[in-house]
């Protein structure tokens, strides 16, 4: 139940994330000054909070999306399997987000 509405909520959040991606491309095409401003905004503390939320959203939406594709193929409808899938989606999104941010910290991206 909760994970179902979360799929929608994270999808809506990623809508905003895709607009940020478009602004990144626009900034890159506009030159060093615009790109510097973009990086400064996204690299600020609020910017990082947004990026962290988007990382969580991307992995959650991806995992839940895979579960939906499995459902569409006609599998995984047992209550136990479906509930297990919901737990796996949440665990995966948290684990993958931490891995990405640890890699980012180790490569000096933060």
């Amino acid at each position: 139940m909760v994970t179902s509405i979360l799929h929608r909520a994270t999808g809506c959040a990623l809508y905003g994330g895709a607009l940020i991606l478009a602004l990144w491309a626009l900034a890159l095409a506009s030159g060093p000054d615009a790109y510097g401003t973009f990086k400064a905004v996204m690299g600020s503390f609020p910017g990082k909070i947004v990026l962290f939320g988007l990382t969580l959203s991307v992995f959650y939406h991806l995992a839940k999306g895979v579960q939906h594709l499995i459902w569409d193929l006609g599998h995984g409808y047992k209550v136990q399997t479906a509930s297990m899938g919901a737990v796996v989606c949440i665990a995966f999104s948290i684990a993958a987000t931490l891995v990405v941010w640890i890699i980012a910290a180790m490569t000096g991206a933060l």
């Binding site: 809508y15 991606l21 491309a25 095409a29 790109y35 991206a109």
Partner: protein, 130 residues
């Protein structure tokens, strides 16, 4: 006895004339394509976060693969999010006029930002910036 009703007259009121199927399939095909594209995109983002403007330009021009995957990621994402947001609007906005307004806004926003992103990537990749 031959029926004098038109095919449209017979079909009216019997539900969707299979119009939803294309939308349903497009949403799933774009979802499947986005699995590898998004994973690549996340690692591209980690790499890009370590680079300044000139580094980012160099990254984009380092091979044909980067701008290609980036354009595919943008196009597939915007198609997918247009389809997804459309369903959200159709589910929650009941008034006919505001529903039409939001659906148009969704389409125009996706088209504008998607085109902006693709054009920007191509501009950089084809050497317009630097």
């Amino acid at each position: 006895m031959a029926s004098f009703r038109t095919p449209l007259g017979r079909a009216r009121g019997l539900g969707a004339a299979k119009h939803g199927v294309g939308h349903w399939i497009a949403e799933r095909v774009s979802a499947a394509a986005l699995i590898p594209l998004v994973l690549w995109g996340v690692f591209a983002a980690i790499r890009l976060a370590t680079l300044d403007y000139y580094g980012a330009i160099a990254w984009l021009n380092s091979s044909a693969l980067n701008p290609t995957l980036l354009v595919l990621l943008v196009v597939t994402s915007f198609l997918h999010m247009h389809a997804g947001m459309r369903v959200v609007i159709e589910d929650y906005v009941e008034k006919h006029l505001s529903r039409a307004g939001f659906l148009l806004l969704n389409l125009f926003a996706c088209a504008l930002f998607g085109a902006l992103a693709v054009f920007s990537i191509l501009k950089v990749a084809l050497g317009g910036a630097v």
